[in-house]
């Protein structure tokens, strides 16, 4: 595909195709930033793809003490699912299992004032077995759930916003070390306010296609067209000449603009870190509501 050159990087004339998703943001605080991070890592574990994990979640960013509701160090976490009910179920499961269980934590709604909400503490409170209590503080209700350490404090509900899931970049280079370094640089540049990169380290090596060639029951299977080892085997290979490894970065964001700007940051960082080829995954434009042409990302951030 003819696209444009960004330094020495070929950028394909293609687009990323993304979907509307619903999301919640929670703020996890703890006595130390280390414990807040432990809880956030646990909560966002096994949340890489809605296909296999029912949600996609990632750490958004670390929060200083003066940015959190209770004045302690914290972590912002974004969790995405296909609908509000999905967000609601997953957030209760994950806060219940990964945050409430973690020493010294509290968990707050990170989208106050959202049009739509889903219960959090209102459901988790039953773990208190009748000993729970609530407090309304500055108009917000919180639940105090007695635990062995003391009390777990959690917001009554979380706001549920409308976001975008599935923005992506596919980053390639002549060998896997260079391709990975470029992908790491891109992921580092993409992270920030309003962005979740749900895969390990923000990077996925096993990009998928919808369905499978050999099975009707598989919802997804390997993106064989971008598997370099199949270059000589698959008739429909799309692995460019000179590319020996590719990595995908999947981007979920709180808005179309947030995803686009993250892709822009990622593209330029990847180019600066040695990527020889950057492309994007799509489904021919027929499935996703949001299209992000790489040609729109030519100007640096």
């Amino acid at each position: 595909m003819s696209g444009y050159l960004l330094g020495d990087t070929d950028v394909d004339d293609t687009f990323a195709e993304a979907f509307p998703m619903r999301y919640a943001r929670v703020v996890i605080t703890a006595a130390t930033d280390g414990w807040a991070l432990e809880a956030a890592r646990s909560m966002t574990g096994f949340a890489t793809s809605v296909i296999g994990c029912k949600c996609e979640a990632a750490i958004e960013r670390a929060l200083a003490s003066d940015e959190t509701p209770d004045g302690r160090p914290g972590i912002g976490v974004l969790l995405f699912a296909m609908d509000r009910e999905g967000v609601g179920k997953r957030i209760v499961e994950r806060v219940g299992q990964s945050v409430m269980t973690c020493p010294t934590t509290a968990c707050f709604d990170g989208l106050p004032g959202a049009d739509s909400t889903s219960p959090l503490g209102a459901t988790l409170r039953y773990f208190g077995d009748g000993f729970q209590a609530s407090k309304v503080i500055a108009g917000q209700r919180y639940w105090r759930i007695p635990v062995m350490e003391g009390e777990f404090l959690v917001s009554e509900s979380v706001g549920v916003g409308r976001g975008v899931g599935g923005g992506n970049l596919v980053i390639g280079a002549g060998d896997e070390d260079v391709a990975l370094a470029a992908a790491e640089a891109a992921a580092g540049a993409m992270r920030g306010e309003g962005i979740a990169l749900p895969f390990p380290g923000g990077i996925v090596r096993s990009g998928s296609k919808v369905g499978a060639l050999t099975s009707k029951s598989m919802p997804a299977s390997t993106n064989h067209q971008l598997a370099p080892t199949l270059r000589a085997q698959a008739d429909d290979t799309l692995v460019p000449d000179g590319v020996g490894a590719l990595f995908e970065i999947v981007i979920d964001g709180v808005s179309e603009e947030a995803v686009r700007e993250a892709m822009r940051r990622g593209l330029h960082s990847a180019a600066g870190a040695g990527a020889t080829r950057v492309t994007a995954a799509n489904f021919g434009g027929k499935l996703g509501q949001f299209h992000f042409p790489l040609s729109d990302l030519r100007d640096p951030p």
Partner: protein, 257 residues
């Protein structure tokens, strides 16, 4: 311009000041406010005879009462929205049975702050009361919801027959606190001997109280960092009721022990 009533003469008797709440003054000009009749002893008196009125009732529902208001009872009573700032000491029953809004008293409050009316079971059901000075006896009596925050001390009997809600006294809570308390929270910034119907539970760092103290700081009281970081002792009671209430006592002396 905020509606401001500045006291210009002391009333001849105690005044029932409940009509002076923002929601009843919304959109009223100075002359309309001056014409409001207040009970004063066995008589009625026009607000304009006692106060110099400036500004007008605003959509923001802010009202300032300025002066030595110790003769004025029921300030902010039954208010449900808006904000009253009393710049001076106030009488008894301030914020009684209020259900919303904010009452800020820049001075001392008399007895029965945020309490239930005589004979009523339920007192304050919402909103926030902040007192920069001290509060009198039986603050928060019958309280069901909301926050009473006192920068100084409360008198005896705070939280009498309290149903729920929170009373915080940074300077300390007086004796016989929380008698008949069902689910309410009392937090004392200094040592306190709880009633025998309370039982010591533990010493911990209460996360909800930390949030409330941050809110109190936001509302303008000076909350020392030490109170935020705790620890606090928790006493559960009143066993003559549900025993689901609590008295939290700042436990400074045992820090690091």
């Amino acid at each position: 311009m905020t509606l401001t009533l500045t006291l210009r003469t002391q009333p001849p008797a105690r005044v029932f000041a409940a009509p002076l709440i923002p929601e009843r003054l919304r959109g009223r000009g100075a002359s309309a406010v001056e014409a409001i009749e207040l009970r004063c002893g066995g008589e009625t008196v026009a607000a304009g005879d006692l106060f110099e009125v400036s500004g007008a009732g605003t959509e923001e529902e802010a009202l300032v009462l300025a002066g030595d208001l110790r003769q004025f009872d029921w300030i902010g009573a039954r208010m449900s929205s808006g904000e009253i700032v009393a710049r001076g000491d106030v009488g008894s029953w301030a914020g009684a049975e209020m259900s919303g809004g904010a009452l800020r008293i820049e001075g001392d409050a008399g007895a029965r702050l945020g309490a239930a009316y005589p004979g009523a079971r339920v007192g304050m059901t919402g909103g926030e009361i902040v007192v920069t000075g001290n509060a009198g006896e039986e603050a928060g009596a019958g309280m069901r919801r909301g926050l009473v925050a006192v920068g100084g001390r409360t008198g005896n009997g705070a939280g009498l027959r309290m149903l729920a809600g929170t009373i915080i006294a940074l300077g300390g809570i007086g004796d016989e606190a929380g008698l008949g308390n069902k689910r309410g929270s009392l937090a004392s910034g200094s040592a306190l001997e709880p009633l025998p119907s309370y039982t010591y539970a533990t010493r911990f760092h209460p996360p909800a109280l930390r949030m409330q103290l941050l809110r109190v700081r936001q509302l303008g009281l000076t909350v020392p960092d030490a109170l935020l970081s705790g620890p606090w002792s928790r006493w559960s009671g009143d066993v003559t009721e549900l025993a689901r209430g609590e008295i939290l006592i700042f436990d400074e002396n045992e820090e690091g022990a």
